[in-house]
Each structure stands twice: as structure tokens, then as C-alpha cells.
């Protein structure tokens, strides 16, 4: 190789550049900190910036919201995963960028503890008065032991599992079938599926509690030793060859049904609707044991207080508690909103088609029935979060 005289970098010049750059780098964090602080507080009056999971959406369409409230909606998508949510709020300061942050109710524990959100003033949400008492006083929204309201519910459901009634020779809803189709049944051996995160242990705990397989106080908020017992049971079932696969996405759930990989699978209700459209003859179970009663809630980040647009935020919450949202979301996903009664009214006023109105009122009945089951309100973040994750990893690794 030819050595060029001109291009040669001598030691001295290299060192000179190096020292200068090192100094610049040491200064960089301070400069960057200043910049981020400056960019913090810009908010747009008349616009609600909402961070939420994709299920919150009425596909691409906030015209009804904007017409009813006079506010503009700026929606940002968040992966529907409490871990990602925590990272966004506590690590990446989502509160300075959004007016409402939405996630599964029950995640607020660490947020309350770290002063990331402020309590809700119920009196500023007119539609709140008519919300079902069971929902209103829900421990998921108030925190386990206080009567302060931290989040406003937006939509909710009672989850179970999907199954093939014909192939399994089981009845269709509203007749009940047992959760053993997922956890412990010869007929589904090697053909049932659960999710790949630690919520699976929570569901198994509810099953064990109902059948007295272990002493578990609260399946939704287990102690470390209870989680370990549940994991042991699940490992035993896994070794018996019960589970075919562990899904992580919505499309996983559908493809497992549609491709005949599983006969019974813990899943979300819209996955059953979608799989049916693709030709799988499945039902969403009604069960004697328990329902995973969950809701998505909106929280107000503490930064909103300084911005002075609380009135607009409460107006937005009132809309989510009103009839329009329920009437739009209900037929689409089978989810209920805080005021299903208003939703039905709203739909009737606007002369919805028969089947849509029926879907909304069906939802009402279904939810009333499912929600009457005492087991159990789902808590997105149990106190022993790390133990839950560790035990789940142990189960998955067996």
C-alpha cells in the first residue's frame, strides 16, 4: 500500500482533535438538558392530546368527538402493554406531551406513588353520576385502599377464552363451559393456548382458587409465595403437554384459531369475531368460574395542572362517558363504555339499524351477567410485579 504524505494524520493533530472533542462531549449533556427543558411546556389550546392503545380508537374517526366537544383530537398510539406505558410515562416523560394518558385501569399504583398523575374531580364530569355503582367504586380506579378516584374508565369487557364447540363437543353460550378447557382437560391436551406474559398466572390463579387447588386470597394481587404455587401448577400442566403455544399479539390469537393450532385459547373477544369472519367456528366462552373483568382508563398527568387546560380534559372525559362513544365502539368490538344506557339511547335517536342496536343492548345484558360474577377484577400491575415476571419466566422456561 502506498503511504500518502498528505493524508497522514500525525499524532499531534490527532490528540488536538481528540481533546477538543472530549471537551465538547462533556458539555453536551448540559446543553441537551437545557434544550429538553425548554421544549417542555408547549400545549395547544383547544386540542386534546391523547396517548392510548389502538383499541381506544373508533377507526380513524374523531369527527363525532370534535363535533360534540368542539375540541380537536390528537391521538397517539401506544403499545397496549403496561411495561411500555411505564417506560413512556416515567422514563420518557409522556405527561409533558399528552393531556390524557390511557392504559388498563390498575396500572396507576406506581404513578400515584411517584406523583405522575393527579386525582380526578368527579364533579367536573356530568355523565359520571349515572355510572353503575359497581364500576364507580371499582378498586381498580380508586387504588386498593382509598376512595380517591385516579382514572376515568373508557371501555371495559369481561374476558374469557375462545373454543370450538363442535370439535370439542361442548355447548354454545349462553350455556357455560369450564375454564378447564384451557388449563386441564384431556380433550384439549396439546391444543390449548395462553398468553406469554405474566397475566397468564393471574388467570390460572383464579381457576385454582375456584377449584380449591391452592389457597389464594386475591388472584389479581398475589403474594410472592402464591405466585410461586401457581407457577408450579402451570409447570405441571405444561409438562403434561397441555399447551400448544403462547401468543403475544392479536394476530397470533387469530392465526392459532384459523389454522387449527388450538381448540381452546385465552383471547380477546374481538379475536373471536375476526376468526369467525375467517371461517373458524368458535365461540367466546361463558363460564361458571370467573371472568377477567378489565377496563381501560384515562389518567391526567401532573403536568396538565400547570398547563391550565383541565376544563378541556374533563370535557373530553365527559364525552367518553357519554352515549356517542359507546354507540360507536360497542358494535365494533363488543366492548362496553361507562354509560351503556346512554349509548343505547344515542343509537336509537339516530335510528341505527336493528342489528347494531341489538349488538349494543346484547352487550348491556352480557356485561350485566358477566360482571355479576365475583371473580375477579383484573389489576394490571400487582404489588409483587417483579416476582410475577420471574415466576412467569420460570414457567415459560420449563
Amino acid at each position: 500500500m502506498v503511504k500518502s504524505t498528505n493524508l497522514k494524520i500525525n499524532r499531534r493533530r490527532f490528540m488536538k482533535g481528540a481533546v477538543g472533542t472530549a471537551a465538547a462531549i462533556t458539555a453536551a449533556p448540559m446543553i441537551a438538558k437545557g434544550l429538553t427543558r425548554q421544549a417542555k411546556a408547549d400545549y395547544k389550546p383547544g386540542t386534546i392530546r391523547l396517548l392510548g392503545g389502538a383499541s381506544t380508537l373508533i377507526p380513524g374517526d374523531w369527527t363525532q368527538f370534535e363535533k360534540d366537544t368542539g375540541l380537536k383530537m390528537e391521538f397517539s398510539l401506544l403499545k397496549d402493554d403496561p411495561g411500555v406505558f411505564f417506560n413512556d410515562v416515567m422514563v420518557n416523560d409522556a405527561g409533558s406531551r399528552y393531556d390524557i394518558i390511557s392504559m388498563l385501569a390498575g396500572v396507576q399504583g406506581p404513578l400515584v406513588e411517584g406523583d405522575w398523575i393527579i386525582p380526578i374531580d368527579k364533579s367536573r364530569i356530568p355523565n359520571w353520576a349515572g355510572v353503575e355503582p359497581g364500576v364507580k367504586s371499582n378498586p381498580q380506579l380508586t387504588g386498593m385502599e382509598s376512595d380517591v378516584l385516579w382514572g376515568v374508565p373508557m371501555y371495559m369487557n369481561a374476558d374469557t377464552f375462545g373454543y370450538f364447540p363442535e370439535l370439542l363437543n361442548e355447548p354454545r353460550p349462553p350455556e357455560e363451559v369450564s375454564w378447564n378447557l384451557v388449563f386441564d382437560n384431556e380433550k384439549t391436551l396439546g391444543q390449548s393456548a395462553v398468553g406469554d406474559n405474566f397475566y397468564t398466572l393471574t388467570f390460572a390463579a383464579a381457576y385454582m382458587k375456584y377449584h380449591n387447588l391452592a389457597t389464594i386470597d386475591k388472584p389479581e394481587n398475589m403474594t410472592a409465595s402464591e405466585v410461586a404455587a401457581v407457577a408450579d401448577y402451570m409447570i405441571e400442566r405444561k409438562k403434561a403437554g397441555q399447551f400448544r403455544t403462547y401468543w403475544s399479539t392479536f394476530d397470533d390469537q387469530i392465526s392459532n384459531f384459523v389454522n387449527g393450532e388450538t381448540l381452546a385459547q385465552v383471547c380477546w373477544e374481538p379475536a373471536v369475531k375476526e376468526s369467525r369472519k375467517q371461517g373458524a367456528d368458535i365461540e367466546y366462552a361463558w363460564t361458571p368460574e370467573f371472568y377477567i373483568k378489565w377496563m381501560a382508563a384515562g389518567f391526567i398527568p401532573v403536568q396538565a395542572e400547570d398547563r391550565g387546560n383541565l376544563d378541556e380534559i374533563y370535557a373530553a372525559f365527559d364525552w367518553f362517558c357519554g352515549g356517542a362513544y359507546g354507540a360507536l365502539l360497542g358494535p365494533l368490538r363488543g366492548y362496553a363504555t361507562p354509560r351503556p344506557d346512554l349509548a343505547l339511547e344515542w343509537a336509537k335517536e339516530r335510528e341505527y339499524t336493528e342489528d347494531k342496536i341489538e349488538a349494543i343492548s346484547d352487550n348491556l345484558d352480557k356485561l350485566k351477567f358477566k360482571y355479576s360474577n365475583p371473580l375477579f377484577w383484573f389489576l394490571a400491575v400487582p404489588d409483587t410485579l417483579k416476582e410475577h415476571e420471574r415466576e412467569m419466566a420460570r414457567f415459560m422456561n420449563t
Binding site: 462531549i25 389454522n259 393450532e261 412467569m392 422456561n397
Partner: protein, 299 residues
């Protein structure tokens, strides 16, 4: 670089190649130091998103009581197996491509086919294997039609063999390229000389081609092994959550904000990979170092 014109000093600096020094410093401090820093973090505990800077072995204790250790071993086992298989498959192919393939068009198409995958996102397309390998998938259907099996094979998907299989395609180019580059470097005259001296095909291969392509083998093994360790797609999609590897472990630790253990698992992976590469490079010492592989790029 026209926009540098208003700055004569910068311009002169650029022209003389003076940017390489500051850039190297930025690169080392801004990229390499943080990456190595994970080893340091693994010795601290954290609360929320902040580390508590008191040295502790908490994270490593948890890694061993946690499944992290098993995951690491499994990742290494699967990755090593696939790497060996890729080497066995890729070597004859690279040898042929470098020394025997004649058609320029075929070579051109093959080169392109082996380069394109580096720049595509694997996330979306891997899901397609499910409908091919599944219980009612293409392969089972064909085997059943031909009466080779009487019941669908359920280990074709959501199993360790499936994960191995899923890795074959995506990491093949990583192995072929370094092998190809190092074999191209071997002078045809040396090979011919060996033949002229009466060395047979095998003799020439064993005593001439193989030793001279050793840098390529080492580079290929590293380029296949390392990224496969951190693959986020195949274990999830083809393994169906039944075969946990490094990525799912770290993601799940992150989702409960368990940074110290995530750092410990990452640090162990980093150390493992580093030791492995060091051994590889030591093997190479005699043959002139890994940089030789890139000399092949000159042709």
C-alpha cells in the same frame, strides 16, 4: 459537502482527513463506552428508572435464581448449532461461487439475492412460516397426501427444531459472504500449483484452500453467531413463545422495569460473545488476523 464551503477551516480540515480523529473520539465515547457500560450497570440496583450507585451482586443472584441463566444457555446452544449447520452448508456453496461458477448472470443474481436480506425488516414476513409449518400447514398437508405420515407433525412449529429452521435462511448470507470473500482471495495459481505437484482435489482442499480461508471461516462464524444471539423475531414467531431466547427475556425484564437484571443478562451475553470472539481471533493469529477478510473487498 458544498455547504462546508463557507467555513474555510473546516474545509481544510475535511480535505486533509482531519475529521477522523474527532469522529473516532465521539464514536468511542458515545457508542462503545455506553455499550461496555452495561457491565457496570449490572452491579447496581435500581429504583424506578434511576440506578442506586452502591455496588451489589443482587442482579447476578437474581439472574441465577431467575430463568435468565437457562435462557442464556439455550440461546448459546441453539445459536451454536445453527452456526455450525450454516458453515457446513455455506462452505461448499461459497467455494463454488468463488472458484467454479462461470455464468456472470447467475453470479450477479446470486450476489444480489445474498445482499438484499441485510436491508429488509424480518419482522413482518417471518409470520408466514406459521402457515407453512403449522399443524394444518403446507408441509403437513403434503406429507399426509403422500401418506408418509398418518397424523400431522406438531413439532414442525412452536418447537426448538422449528426455531433452528427459522434461522437457516435469514443468517445464510452472513456466513456465505465472509467465506466467499476469503476464498476469492486465494490465488488460482496456488491452487493450480498444488494440482501440478500431484496433489489431488482433496489434498489441495485440505492443505491449501481450507487453511487459507480460515479468516473467512472465523469471520463467518462471528457474523452468524453474534446477531443470531440477539434475534428478536424468529424465536417469537416460529417458536411461538415455547422457545425463549435472549430477546424475549430482556424484553420481559424491561416491561417490569427490572433494569438491573436486564443489565446483568445483557452483560453476560456481551461477555460471552466477547470471549467467544477473542478465542476465534486467537485461532486466527497465525494466519494474519481478521482484517484480511476485508482485503477481499478490493477485488
Amino acid at each position: 459537502m458544498v455547504f462546508l464551503n463557507p467555513f474555510p477551516r473546516l474545509r481544510r480540515l475535511a480535505a486533509r482527513g482531519g475529521f477522523i480523529a474527532p469522529f473516532t473520539i465521539v464514536w468511542v465515547l458515545g457508542v462503545l463506552v455506553p455499550v461496555l457500560g452495561v457491565v457496570v450497570f449490572s452491579f447496581f440496583d435500581s429504583r424506578g428508572v434511576k440506578f442506586i450507585f452502591e455496588p451489589t451482586l443482587y442482579a447476578y443472584e437474581s439472574t441465577f435464581s431467575h430463568a435468565g441463566w437457562q435462557v442464556l444457555l439455550r440461546s448459546v446452544r441453539i445459536t451454536a448449532t445453527v452456526t455450525v449447520i450454516e458453515l457446513i452448508v455455506a462452505y461448499p456453496f461459497a467455494l463454488w461461487l468463488a472458484k467454479s461458477a462461470r455464468s456472470p448472470l447467475l453470479k450477479l443474481v446470486t450476489f444480489a439475492a445474498l445482499t438484499v436480506p441485510f436491508f429488509l425488516s424480518p419482522a413482518s414476513r417471518t409470520i408466514v412460516w406459521r402457515v407453512i409449518l403449522g399443524k394444518n400447514g403446507l408441509i403437513n398437508t403434503i406429507l399426509l397426501e403422500l401418506s408418509i405420515i398418518s397424523e400431522p407433525l406438531d413439532w414442525l412449529l412452536f418447537s426448538e427444531p422449528a426455531v433452528h429452521f427459522g434461522f437457516f435462511g435469514p443468517y445464510f448470507p452472513n456466513m456465505v459472504w465472509p467465506l466467499f470473500l476469503s476464498i476469492t482471495l486465494i490465488d488460482d495459481e496456488i491452487i493450480e500449483a498444488s494440482r501440478d505437484l500431484g496433489g489431488g482435489r482433496f489434498h489441495t482442499f485440505w492443505h491449501v484452500i481450507l487453511p487459507l480461508s480460515l479468516p473467512g471461516i472465523v469471520a463467518g462464524v462471528i457474523f452468524t453467531f453474534v446477531p443470531m444471539m440477539g434475534d428478536t423475531v424468529v424465536p417469537q414467531t416460529v417458536g411461538g413463545g415455547a422457545v425463549l431466547m435472549l430477546s424475549s427475556e430482556i424484553n420481559s425484564l424491561f416491561s417490569v422495569l427490572n433494569y438491573p437484571v436486564a443489565a446483568a443478562v445483557s452483560a453476560l451475553a456481551l461477555i460471552l460473545v466477547a470471549v467467544f470472539q477473542l478465542l476465534m481471533v486467537l485461532v486466527l493469529r497465525r494466519t494474519g488476523g481478521i482484517a484480511h477478510v476485508f482485503e477481499g473487498l478490493r477485488r
